[in-house]
């Protein structure tokens, strides 16, 4: 994987009640590119935040079908990655890089 792609993979942190709760389990949640693979995500997180990743789980939340002025359209799908860090390591998602 080339170096630039590292910066493209991770789009934003997910800051919600749920993500705050699982942060106690040493897990951090990110929005990632739709075509990002788990090994890529692991590599990107490790390089960017200088941490050790033990597992990556991903999910794709499908965009809802909505209507605007009677016309149907679809919201974009979002891929989320829950990254488990090695014990004792943290990422402060609220400060940014």
């Amino acid at each position: 994987m080339n170096q630039e792609r590292i910066y493209d993979i991770i789009l934003a942190p997910v800051v919600t009640e749920k993500s705050t709760r699982i942060s106690e389990l040493n897990q951090v949640t990110f929005k990632v590119r739709g075509d990002a693979a788990k090994p890529e995500i692991r590599q990107a997180v490790e390089k960017l935040f200088n941490v050790k990743v033990t597992a990556v789980n991903t999910m794709v939340t499908k965009g809802k079908t909505k209507r605007f002025k009677g016309k149907a359209y679809r919201r974009s799908d979002v891929k989320k990655a829950i990254v488990t860090l090695e014990a004792g390591q943290t990422i402060d998602v609220t400060t940014g890089i």
Partner: protein
């Protein structure tokens, strides 16, 4: 919280206040957790956002808020502990603060002085009163008659005389060129009334109806219009009408025309006008004398900050005035420093008198009744005919404006109160003497009212 007095010099107090960091931190934490109960953040249900997140987002502003509050509380406590009565808003200087460090600030307070007890009974004043001389009234009546006499064309056409009313068309020229406002038609001129450029009216004497004449005049140096000052001009005039003044009897009928029932009533009205004028002058002189006595006899230290404030107000007004009139200090034969010195003294006197008067007023429970305020409000409303309702609304919505009405009333009442208690001798003087310097006085009165107002509201 620790308060230490650094120095105290007369009315000036310099305090140092230290608030420990722990105090501030606990307060910030409290404030944040209170905030967390209602905070709305995207991704969280209302009130479910974690405090740590809130701290990141709002920490700075909350800390600032708490700091402000601590400074406010700290200065209040410092002032209360030292039993100070600040004359003005205390000056606060934060010397050090950092996250996790003690908050230190310095407080510069100017204490409100306690004016000395004034022995009102020991004040001796002279009330100058003036009789209204019969000649003055007579002259005023004559003037009224003169101003109202009817003019009529004489039975036999004749040349114009002194006191005649001549109607003329005129075209004025300077160096043969017509100038602005120098042309007119059918203008009535009373010869001898002195309304026009000197010399103009005199040259109308001896003209007859239909006659054309060239009049030469020189505009005086102090003429109102800038472009005409001191210029020589010629006026081509044509006399269209000559009327002679008729005679008027000062009788009831004449009085009725002026809206009075009879000659006696008219005379009374004229006398009343003089009486009111003299009464005002009497009161002003009395007040001036009273203020002089108070200022001389009861000196006390006044807060320099207040003097400075008053001085600035006077100075700004003065310089603005001078600029408008294009004057400089050199015109009045004194340097700016001298003038400043002089006005500083005036400012100090005003502040002192303001404090003293308001002190006497409060001690003796002089109060401004609502009824009196109402009257003042009505008086104000009458100055704007047709908009009375707006005026009332304005005062209802602006307590500060109402306060401005209250101040002079309060001051007047205090003065009345003192005059009542003081020894007052009445002395008769001539009207001319009474009216001397009155205009000057009026100016000062208003400012004392403001000073008194300031002290009361602070």
């Amino acid at each position: 919280m620790q308060v230490t007095q650094v120095s105290a010099d007369g009315l000036k107090h310099h305090l140092k206040v230290v608030v420990p960091a722990a105090d501030i931190e606990t307060k910030v934490a409290e404030r944040l957790s209170a905030l967390a109960k209602t905070a709305r953040l995207p991704g969280f249900r209302p009130g479910k956002a974690p405090v740590s997140l809130l701290k990141k987002q709002y920490g700075r502003s909350v800390t600032g808020e708490i700091l402000e509050k601590s400074i406010d509380e700290g200065s209040k406590k410092a002032i209360a502990d030292n039993q100070l009565r600040p004359a003005l808003q205390p000056k606060v200087e934060v010397t050090s603060f950092d996250e996790g460090k003690d908050l230190e600030f310095e407080l510069h307070v100017e204490n409100l002085p306690t004016p000395p007890e004034v022995d009102l009974a020991a004040i001796e004043l002279t009330r100058y009163e003036a009789e209204i001389p019969a000649e003055t009234v007579q002259k005023a009546l004559d003037d009224i008659v003169k101003a109202n006499r009817p003019y009529a064309e004489p039975a036999e056409p004749r040349p114009a005389q002194q006191d005649d009313r001549v109607t003329i068309d005129f075209a004025g020229k300077i160096d043969g060129v017509a100038f602005d406002g120098g042309t007119g038609k059918d203008m009535p001129v009373v010869i001898g009334s002195g309304m026009l450029v000197p010399g103009f009216e005199d040259q109308l004497v001896g003209t007859s109806v239909g006659e054309e004449k060239v009049i030469e005049v020189t505009f005086p140096e102090d003429y109102g219009a800038e472009n005409l000052k001191g210029k020589a001009a010629t006026f081509d005039i044509k006399v269209t009408k000559i009327e002679e003044p008729g005679l008027v009897q000062l009788d009831d009928e004449f009085a009725k025309k002026l809206g009075q029932e009879s000659v006696d009533k008219l005379k009374e009205a004229v006398e009343g006008r003089f009486a009111a004028e003299y009464g005002r002058a009497t009161r002003m002189k009395l007040k001036r004398a009273l203020l002089d006595v108070l200022a001389d006899r009861y000196p006390f230290e006044v807060p320099p900050g207040m003097v400075e404030l008053e001085f600035d107000a006077i100075w700004n007004q003065l310089t603005a005035e001078m600029q408008r009139q294009g004057q400089t200090f050199a015109d009045e034969n004194k340097s700016e420093e001298e003038a400043k010195e002089e006005y500083r003294k005036i400012a100090e006197r005003r502040v002192r008198l303001g404090l003293l008067l308001s002190d006497i007023g409060t001690k003796n429970e002089v109060k401004v009744e609502n009824k009196e305020l109402q009257q003042a409000m009505i008086a104000q409303a009458q100055r704007f005919p047709g908009q009375a309702r707006q005026v009332f609304e304005f005062y209802q919505k602006n307590p500060a404006a109402l306060e401005q009405l209250r101040a002079p009333i309060f001051e007047d009442k205090v003065v009345d109160f003192i005059v009542e208690k003081a020894k007052v001798e009445t002395q008769k003087v001539s009207p001319e003497e009474l009216m001397k310097e009155v205009d000057e006085d009026e100016d000062e009165m208003l400012d004392v009212a403001e000073a008194a107002d300031e002290t009361r509201s602070s």
